[in-house]
């Protein structure tokens, strides 16, 4: 179930950003996602690389927000999980 956990974690991180009106600083994001900073970094780089989130510099502070693809992931999350279950993937 390693891979399912990965999808869950991605969904949790994206949900936190969404619940913070689509703009959150990195430190509160790490805290709210209940992960070690090393593990968070791993996922965060993946999210940036896959263009699910992007970074916005505002007044010298770095904020994280969802991209359209990030929104789409949240919309489709249940479909993805049920598809994986349905086909035993």
């Amino acid at each position: 179930m390693v891979k399912r956990e990965r999808l869950d974690i991605i969904k949790d991180i994206l949900s936190i950003i969404y619940q913070n009106r689509n703009s959150v600083k990195i430190t509160p994001l790490i805290r709210q996602s209940n992960m070690s900073s090393t593990r968070f970094k791993e996922y965060y780089h993946e999210l940036l690389e896959k263009e699910l989130v992007n970074e916005i510099i505002n007044g010298g502070n770095k904020f994280v927000s969802l991209t359209n693809k990030g929104y789409r992931f949240l919309e489709k999350y249940n479909t993805i999980v049920s598809f994986i279950d349905e086909f035993e993937l």
């Binding site: 999808l7 896959k50 489709k76 993805i80 994986i84 086909f87 993937l89």
Partner: protein
């Protein structure tokens, strides 16, 4: 004594007239291939967004399986076209005729893509248990190339049969082992059965393509059953992903 083939058995039951009734022409063959190719491509493109969003390996291998089924069916229709249009007995007769090289190349690609489609389907279910090690995938590519080369070089129907029976037994063994080790055996969850059926009818299709007279008369039933299995999987994909 006549050779013991599907045809002789079938004729024993229902006779020549009934066999002629179900004799399939080029049009029917191409239509059948077209339906399967469309089903496979709908599954492949229908799951594109899910994979792009999730980058989930299981979805990737599942999609690859159906892309390879589509490509294999394309080459299958090409082989069928040569066999029916030029009225040759089967792929064994490809060497002496002028289109030999093209026919053999089509046969080689057909066998490679067929084997890989089944291997990808297996891998999509088993990749977690095999710890997602990609070297196994390279191994499968290697086995598929070897199967294709042995089939083409040997030009022996018994070798075709043997290799495909070996492939089918491997699929049944892996799927059965996986099902036995599965903790959460959902009631009425028959996906493993569908995968075995898909592999079975696919392998019957391969035998039918390589040795056309083996199943002569029974082809219609094999085609209908194969179409049903593909449509069933497509239905389950659409049910999950949506008609878009």
């Amino acid at each position: 004594m006549p050779p013991f083939t599907g045809r002789t058995v079938f004729e024993g039951f229902v006779g020549q007239q009934f066999r002629n009734l179900f004799g399939l022409g080029l049009g029917a063959e191409l239509f059948y291939s077209f339906v399967i190719i469309v089903c496979s491509l709908m599954i492949y493109f229908g799951t594109k967004e899910l994979y792009e969003l999730s980058s989930y390996k299981g979805i990737k291998y599942f999609r690859q399986a159906f892309l390879f089924f589509a490509i294999a069916y394309f080459f299958r229709s090409f082989i069928k076209f040569i066999v029916i249009y030029f009225n040759v007995k089967g792929v064994i007769d490809f060497f002496p005729i002028t289109f030999g090289t093209t026919g053999i190349l089509a046969q080689l690609l057909f066998l490679y893509f067929s084997s890989m489609a089944i291997f990808y389907l297996l891998y999509s279910v088993m990749w977690k248990k095999w710890n997602g090690r990609s070297y196994k995938l390279y191994l499968f590519h290697g086995i598929a190339v070897v199967i294709a080369l042995i089939s083409v070089l040997s030009r022996n129907p018994l070798v075709y049969l043997g290799l495909n029976i070996f492939l089918l037994l491997t699929v049944i063994f892996v799927v059965y082992t996986s099902y036995q080790h599965k903790k959460n055996k959902k009631k009425g969850h028959n996906l493993y059965f569908i995968y075995v059926l898909l592999s079975l009818f696919w392998i019957l299709n391969i035998i039918d393509t390589l040795i056309p007279r083996f199943f002569q008369g029974l082809q219609l039933f094999i085609y209908l059953a194969s179409t049903f299995v593909f449509l069933l999987i497509l239905y389950r994909v659409i049910k999950n992903v949506g008609a878009n």
